[in-house]
């Protein structure tokens, strides 16, 4: 006999709800942390290989303990707060940049429903920390908050490099936030929802609603290729990855906004970069690649797609030089922004004509 699963709610089963929630959060959090740690390792390995060298292989077996050694070392380093720095903002900045990245993870669906029976009742629990009906807006808002980390780092450090790096970075991030924010509007026109879970659900239908094409999933990458390109380029810029890594551009601004940061606070910046990379990959997966849909079991599909994105980011980093600041702004404002608007108009016309 097939039972319709109950939705777990706080009011009906408070303890179970809380327990499941905590388990989900902890799993997601630990997984993210692990991916963050090993993303640094993977990046060093992959870029190393692309550059005909080995990458870390002397710390632990195959160098697998490298991220842990780095983390521990930074943990035990002396923490310098420059005397003329605005100490509160100086400490707040790395947290402000890391926290939004982690918080954004909480609305991303990793997989379909998980069914389990407790106390004789079949429950369906989505593999997602929580599904907001404004999920995408939430992420955009969090990305907006992430800017403060960099602004404050630049402002608080009382160093010219940090100031310049912070300012550059902020201008860059907000410019591309706009392009990214506008590029995904076309998705909502198609999906008619802002909930990430809803968007994934729409993408699991056959392509363009045609049953004959059912072997191709209705991923938005197929009907919104322009939006996808804009999103990927824009988010690369938003998370300061090469070729948009100007704020940290070592060869210009030493370390940009984190020039004055040492020890664990620097580690947080470092982690935030990779956490942001994961977040962005996860969002791109959800919005354009059909989330957890695919040949394997839910979250495995999801992780494969996320890792593919991350590999792409790493690959780009190994290949391309860095843009110049004015070119970056040019690209953001004069190319991506109009293109995003054009994309919206085209999508609108297409929908109206369909």
């Amino acid at each position: 006999m097939v039972m319709t699963p109950e939705v777990l709610t706080l009011s009906e089963a408070p303890w179970l709800f809380t327990g499941v929630m905590l388990v989900k959060i902890i799993v997601a959090f630990v997984a993210t942390l692990l991916i963050v740690a090993y993303a640094t390792y993977a990046e060093r390995k992959i870029i190393g290989r692309m550059q005909t060298r080995m990458g870390p292989n002397m710390t632990g077996p195959k160098g697998l303990l490298q991220p842990i050694a780095d983390g521990l070392k930074l943990f035990f380093k002396e923490d310098i707060i420059p005397s003329q720095a605005h100490w509160f903002a100086f400490i707040l900045a790395p947290m402000m940049i890391l926290a939004p990245a982690f918080i954004s993870i909480s609305v991303i669906p990793f997989g379909g429903d998980l069914h389990f029976t407790y106390d004789g009742i079949l429950y369906a629990v989505p593999m997602q920390i929580t599904d907001l009906n404004i999920g995408v807006l939430f992420i955009v808002a969090m990305a907006g908050l992430g800017v403060y980390g960099i602004v404050l780092a630049g402002l608080a450090s009382n160093s010219k490099y940090a100031l310049l790096g912070g300012i550059r970075s902020t201008a860059q991030m907000i410019s591309y936030e706009l392009a990214v924010g506008l590029s995904i509007v076309a998705i909502f026109m198609l999906s008619e929802t802002l909930s990430l879970r809803g968007i994934v659900a729409v993408q699991q239908q056959p392509l363009w609603g045609l049953e004959s094409l059912s072997f191709i999933p209705n991923w938005y990458i197929f009907c919104q290729p322009l939006a996808f390109c804009l999103f990927v380029i824009g988010s690369m810029a938003e998370i300061n990855r090469t070729p948009f890594d100007l704020p940290e551009a070592e060869t210009e601004l030493v370390s940009g906004f984190c020039t004055e940061y040492s020890a664990m606070k620097y580690a947080l910046f470092f982690m935030a970069e990779y956490a942001n990379m994961i977040t962005v990959s996860a969002i791109a997966t959800t919005l354009f690649l059909g989330g957890w849909g695919g040949p394997f079991y839910g979250w495995i599909n999801f992780l494969i797609k996320v890792f593919a994105f991350m590999f792409f980011f790493i690959w780009i980093r190994a290949t391309f030089p860095r843009l110049r600041y004015d070119q970056l702004m040019f690209l953001g404002w004069k190319i991506m922004l109009p293109l995003a608007l054009v994309n919206i108009v085209i999508t609108g016309i297409a929908i109206l004509l369909w």
């Binding site: 709800f17 989900k24 400490i91 008619e192």
Partner: protein, 118 residues
Amino acid sequence: MLDIYLPILVVMGIALAFALGSVVLSRLVGVKKPSEVKLAPYECGMPLIGSAQERFSIKFYIIAMLFILFDIEAVFLYPWAVMFKRLGIFGFVEMGVFIIILLVGFIYVWKKGALEWE
């Protein structure tokens, strides 16, 4: 309401606790040997020229300002996009007018050279 937002609150708490905890713990266990030079701002090893609190170009400000205005536009676009299929051609024209008016501003800014750096 709490059903949905409680987990976010918890995640927020955990994320902040993690960030704060690691910073504070690291500060506690790190060696502390401050000196005047160490706490001075980094300047490639040279004595400071001028103050780090110098001003920078107005252009950055223009970028931030434009961002606000276009951000508002994006904010208007979200509910519109979600409602688009239900609003139909009417909604399309409506937003078209809105975007065109804003584009006028954008083109003005472009022509004024506020987006140029050289």
